[in-house]
Symmetry: C2
Subunit: 107 residues, 2 copies
């Protein structure tokens, strides 16, 4: 029964994946892969309102993808699971394949 994967497990996975499914959050993940960053820095990089970035970060944090650490007035975020980046390699494969067949995803 629980032999393999339950619906609950798929839901858990989906929550993690969903947390990544936004351009700004992907940008944030990419940036945090380089080094930790405070919210203010990320806001400049992303280019939207700081409240919006803060909400994106809380989505990522809630999904277990990033951690935060308060040092003084600043809150520094960093990636919690480095392998997230391999992930992107695969997504690129999809996009490359899609490009061959000129699907609309490639945008």
């Amino acid at each position: 029964m629980t032999g393999n994967k339950t619906r609950t497990q798929y839901e858990a996975r989906a929550r993690v994946i969903k947390a990544m499914a936004h351009p700004s959050r992907l940008l944030i993940i990419d940036e945090l892969n380089r080094r930790e960053r405070c919210v203010h820095e990320l806001t400049e990089i992303v280019g939207t309102d700081i409240s919006t970035v803060s909400k994106h970060l809380s989505v990522l944090k809630n999904a277990g993808i990033v951690t935060d650490e308060k040092r003084g007035v600043m809150v520094y975020y960093r990636l919690r699971v480095p392998c997230i980046l391999n992930f992107f390699g695969c997504v690129e494969s999809v996009l490359k394949q899609a490009a061959k067949d000129s699907l609309s995803v490639v945008g």
Copy 2:
């Protein structure tokens, strides 16, 4: 924008990831990794209305994750990019880490 990646590229990636970000679609991907399946079979596995499954499949297809092939009356779907599955390994890492800190994602 800081790096060599444009917003457009992040949007393309997000579209692919977003297409995966649903429990039923993850289940479908997992199943298609075993072997190709027609819509009717997938409907039994997923357990929702066939029209709902069909829409999930069109999301996956549009993202370049699956292909379909009509043979007679049936439409068979299969994975287009096998590495999608490695992807899950990483998601599991996230969940495992999250479990350690008992975050809510694990649900």
